[in-house]
Structure formats: structure tokens, C-alpha cells
């Protein structure tokens, strides 16, 4: 089974990289950009067919390693 996890900074944490990307795009003339937050994307291949178990496993590894829960949130998506 393939699952992806997206890790992003929590809303109240300053994201300087996202800010610079957003400002650069505005400078390039993309005036409709309001804000950009930068994150990390993980493609995870699992030896598991049960969706519920797979979700639980990916939640666990997200909390333990992929995300630092002090500053980051994660979302899980199935392909």
C-alpha cells in the first residue's frame, strides 16, 4: 500500500522559507498570491493491506520521526 504524509509547520510558527518564496513570487508579478507555507512530502510504501492498520502505523512514524510535534503538524493521504 502507498501512503503519503505531508509535514508542515504549525500555523503560529514562523516559516521564513515560505515567506521568502511567497515574496519572490509577488516580486515576479504573481499578485494573487496571499501566502505560502513550505512543508515536507513523504511517499511511504507499506507492507500492509489493511487501511486502518496502515493509517495507525503512519501516524506513529509521523509522530516519532517525520514531524517534530512541537512545531509541526502532519496529514496522511492515500493514493
Amino acid at each position: 500500500m502507498k501512503i503519503s504524509a505531508v509535514v508542515t509547520l504549525k500555523k503560529n510558527v514562523l516559516d521564513p522559507q515560505g515567506k521568502v518564496v511567497s515574496q519572490t513570487l509577488k516580486n515576479m508579478g504573481y499578485n494573487d498570491i496571499i501566502n505560502i507555507r513550505q512543508g515536507k512530502y513523504f511517499e511511504i510504501e507499506l507492507n500492509e493491506t489493511n487501511k486502518e492498520k496502515a493509517t495507525k502505523l503512519v501516524e506513529e512514524i509521523s509522530k516519532k520521526l517525520l514531524a517534530n510535534m512541537v512545531i509541526e503538524d502532519y496529514t496522511i493521504n492515500f493514493e
Binding site: 514562523l14 520521526l65 517525520l66 517534530n68 512541537v70
Partner: protein, 225 residues
């Protein structure tokens, strides 16, 4: 006194800290991160560098090394732990110290000498700073921007767990002399029991009056006291 310096793939200040420890007659051993047994030590040092190329988050992969289990045990028993720069980032990732070290506010690697105000001198690492409370040490990092929620910051301030703050030469700590955007100008923090110190500046680089100065020496004199 015995110490262990943990060496990770990508550590690059491990030799410097070993020289500093040996100068103060501390019997030091280098310990490879893949070891599972920590030699008998009074002090464990997590050195600066770029362990695992800062993959995922600075210090993150190193914090899952086999040796870290024994380092955690050492911490629990009240043993001394000093994390410098990348070592501080690793301590944060293990959860031994609270908060997080974000990328520098201006998104640039900062390498320069900075003034620091010694806030807490009632711990094993800083006892001798009573005689000199404003010091100058080098910093060299990309992720040194200390961040924590308001409760954690209040707890650090109220319980006097901040060891050093970035300041000017008079000891004023404000945004003008904050090199990386750290909350409350924090440069170094202690755990509640004060046996663990995590710091971004490098004391091991300032232990020789001919080469650099002696503001770092004071820390090693405190440790062996």
C-alpha cells in the same frame, strides 16, 4: 573526572572539544554513535557539526542513534551532559531539553563572535562565571533560532533555566543583539535538574589566550571544580 564525546557521522567539533577536555585533565574517550554501551563517564558531550547532513531536521537522525539510550540513562541518573551547537539540536530532538531550534530568522548561516550574558551561575557548567558575567564566544550555525511556546518560555524564565542570553557588551539582551531570532535572546538552556546544558555558542573554541581568549576556559574550570 571522566568524559565521553559522542561522535556521529558528520560531527566536526569532536576533536576540538576533546582537546579542551584534555587540557583540563579530564580523561576523555571518543565514543562512536553506533556503540550501545556508554563507558563510565561523569560528563557526556554531544559535539558540534552536521550529523547526518542535517537530514530531516538538524540533530533528528542522530537523536535516534543506538548510543542515545545509554545517554538518556546517564541523564536520568544525574550525569552531566553538555550539548554544543549540533549537540544542542540533538538534545532538543531527544526531548531531554524543551523547545526547538528553527532556522535562523534571516535564513543565513551565522558565523561570528557574539557577546553573551551569563544568566544562571548556579549550575555545574557555569559556577566560575560568577567572576565574569558578560563573555564573548563564537557561534556558527544555520539552525539556532530557539523557539518554544509561551508556557515553556515562562517556565524557563521563572525557574532560572536559561544559562546564556545573546546580549551587547554591556549585557543588554534585546532584538538588536539577537543574531538568529531566538525567543527571549536564548543562547543556552538547562534542564530542571541542571545536569544538562544545551548551548549554541562554542566554548571549546575559546580556551587559549594566544589563539582566541579564555571565556570558554571558565566553563571547563567550572566543570572540574
Amino acid at each position: 573526572m571522566k568524559s565521553s564525546v559522542i561522535v556521529f557521522p558528520g560531527s566536526n567539533c569532536d576533536r576540538d572539544i576533546a582537546v579542551a577536555l584534555e587540557k583540563y585533565k579530564i580523561k576523555n574517550q571518543m565514543v562512536w554513535h553506533a556503540e550501545s554501551m556508554l563507558p563510565k563517564s561523569d560528563l557526556v558531550v554531544l559535539p558540534g557539526g552536521f550529523s547526518y547532513g542535517d537530514y530531516l531536521r538538524a540533530g533528528c537522525i542522530a537523536s535516534k542513534s543506538p548510543i542515545i539510550n545509554d545517554v538518556m540513562e546517564h541523564a536520568k541518573k544525574g550525569g552531566l551532559i553538555l550539548g554544543i551547537c549540533n549537540g544542542f539540536q540533538i538534545l532538543i530532538e531527544t526531548g531531554l531539553l524543551p523547545g526547538v531550534l528553527l532556522r535562523n530568522k534571516k535564513l543565513r548561516f551565522v558565523s561570528k563572535n557574539v557577546h553573551l550574558k551569563v544568566i544562571n551561575t548556579e549550575n555545574k557548567f557555569c559556577l566560575n562565571y560568577k567572576k565574569k558575567k558578560i563573555i564573548k564566544l563564537p557561534i556558527a550555525h544555520n539552525e539556532g533560532n530557539y523557539f518554544a511556546d509561551n508556557n515553556t518560555l515562562k517556565n524557563l524564565e521563572d525557574n532560572n533555566l536559561i544559562a546564556f542570553k545573546y546580549s551587547d557588551e554591556l549585557g543588554n539582551a534585546n532584538s538588536e543583539n539577537n543574531p538568529n531570532g531566538s525567543s527571549n535572546n536564548i543562547a543556552a538552556i538547562l534542564n530542571k535538574e541542571k545536569n544538562i546544558l544545551g548551548m549554541m555558542p562554542h566554548p571549546e573554541r575559546v580556551i587559549d589566550p594566544i589563539l582566541s581568549g579564555e571565556d570558554g576556559s571558565i566553563m571547563f574550570e567550572s566543570i572540574i571544580k
